[in-house]
């Protein structure tokens, strides 16, 4: 027998947990599922400075725990490290198989699976993943104590995490494809004044080289087309994200980059199926916008459930 909830939320990031807070307070039997621990991308962000309510910076992992604790306080069940091994999100009720051994179902589902770090797709990248190439500064920064490392990217994540990495590394060289950063001005200013941080502008990675571990990063200046090989102890890659859409592929409309199209109530067109957060097609992806999506999805799902019982 499948365990029945009113609402299942897939993904325990800011969108999913905001939805869970609203749904649980509306007294919906709410089940939240995550393949990892709660927090989504926030849990591995070393600090968050732009989330309202925190006049001092808050550690991403602390904010993640607070989101989850708040949802659980109102009765949402947040299940960690569960994998969805089969799914039927088209029918009602929607059914999921967990870890190949258990079934759960609910008439309404919110998919808030977010996005994962984009890989560069450059030769040598898969070979040196975990052998010098990393996508998570909080997880792997300490491996590079006293080392000379490189960061690829120029958005908020790249510049913020470069600052974080200076507490371990001897030097951090940022390689960015443009001649200016896309990160917030306050962060950029801090980075440009940091004595440990250097920047190589107008350059893109073209390859990773080494014997057993990564030794060299090959880059191309996109203006002069000159190639260089840089000696490196490690490379952190922060070049954006790709949506995690495996569960809804073929079921809901997506834009050309694979993000899910919804109406303004986060509805997908499939009855009872909503999406929220970074997986959704929209202009800005922030913790605050994810939380807003989650709130709207939960309220919309609640209304839909009332009308369809």
């Amino acid at each position: 027998m499948a365990e029945r909830s009113d609402l299942i939320i897939i993904g325990a990031g800011p969108a999913g947990l905001a939805a869970a807070i609203y749904a649980a307070r509306a007294r919906l039997r709410t089940l939240v599922l995550d393949e990892s621990v709660p927090g989504g991308q926030v849990k591995t962000t070393h600090k968050v400075s732009n989330y309202p309510g925190f006049p001092e910076d808050v550690k991403g992992s602390d904010l993640a725990k607070a989101f989850a604790a708040q949802a659980e306080r109102f009765g949402a069940r947040v299940r960690r490290a569960v994998e969805i091994t089969k799914h039927d999100l088209a029918s009602i009720p929607k059914k999921l198989e967990l870890d190949e051994e258990e079934e759960v179902e609910a008439p309404a589902v919110i998919v808030a699976t977010g996005a994962k770090p984009r890989e560069l797709g450059v030769p040598g990248e898969s070979r040196f993943k975990g052998r010098g190439i990393s996508y998570c500064a909080t997880c792997d920064g300490a491996y590079f104590d006293g080392k000379d490392i490189h960061v690829i990217g120029g958005g908020n994540s790249a510049v913020e995490e470069s600052l974080f990495l200076t507490q371990f590394a001897r030097s951090v060289t940022i390689v960015h494809q443009f001649d200016h950063f896309q990160a917030e001005a306050a962060t950029v200013e801090e980075a440009l004044h940091d004595p440990k941080i250097q920047v190589i502008w107008d350059s893109e990675p073209r390859g990773f080289l080494g014997e057993n571990a990564l030794e060299k990063l090959r880059i191309e200046n996109v203006k002069t087309h000159e190639f260089r090989e840089l000696r490196t102890d490690g490379v952190f890659v922060f070049v954006g994200y790709v949506p995690r859409t495996d569960l809804v592929k073929g079921l809901v409309p997506m834009n050309q980059w694979g993000y899910v199209e919804t109406d303004e109530s986060m509805a997908t067109g499939v009855p009872g199926l909503y999406v929220a957060g970074d997986i959704r097609s929209k202009k800005f992806r922030q913790i605050t916008t994810a939380v807003a999506d989650g709130t709207i999805a939960a309220l919309a799902a609640q209304k839909w459930l009332k009308e369809h019982r």
């Binding site: 993640a64 960690r80 975990g130």
Partner: protein
């Protein structure tokens, strides 16, 4: 924590992992503190260890306390899963947040099948 996952130090690596893998596949997990993906992996790793109890061994090692071995094996990220059989490293390493329970299971199964063949 599952008793089926044995915590080792680098001094025990040769005996508990390399030599032990001559009789049974051994999986080794490098983990760190302040590593949410490591926290997420732990219950999945325990569950797989339970599934293969008696057929394959599962060990874990704390990276911060065993830097030399991490360096020797070229491990620069947590979590990293390394698979051993026949006294040497085999198959692809797994790392990061997206290690799936089903993927670990599949790799251990293929090592067991290779031994049986």
């Amino acid at each position: 924590m599952s008793q089926l996952v044995k915590e080792i130090t680098q001094a025990e690596f040769e005996a508990e992992v390399v030599r032990a893998s001559e009789s049974q596949p051994v999986v080794l997990d490098f983990y760190s503190t302040d590593c949410p993906p490591c926290e997420a992996l732990a219950p999945k790793y325990d569950a797989v260890a339970e599934q293969f109890a008696g057929k394959a061994r599962f060990a874990k090692i704390f990276r911060q306390g065993n830097r030399d071995l991490a360096q020797k094996l070229g491990v620069t990220g947590s979590p990293t899963l390394i698979f051993f059989a026949g006294g040497r490293e085999v198959g692809e390493r797994m790392g990061g947040e997206d290690i799936r329970r089903t993927a670990i299971k599949a790799q251990v199964e293929s090592l067991l099948a290779a031994r049986a063949a």
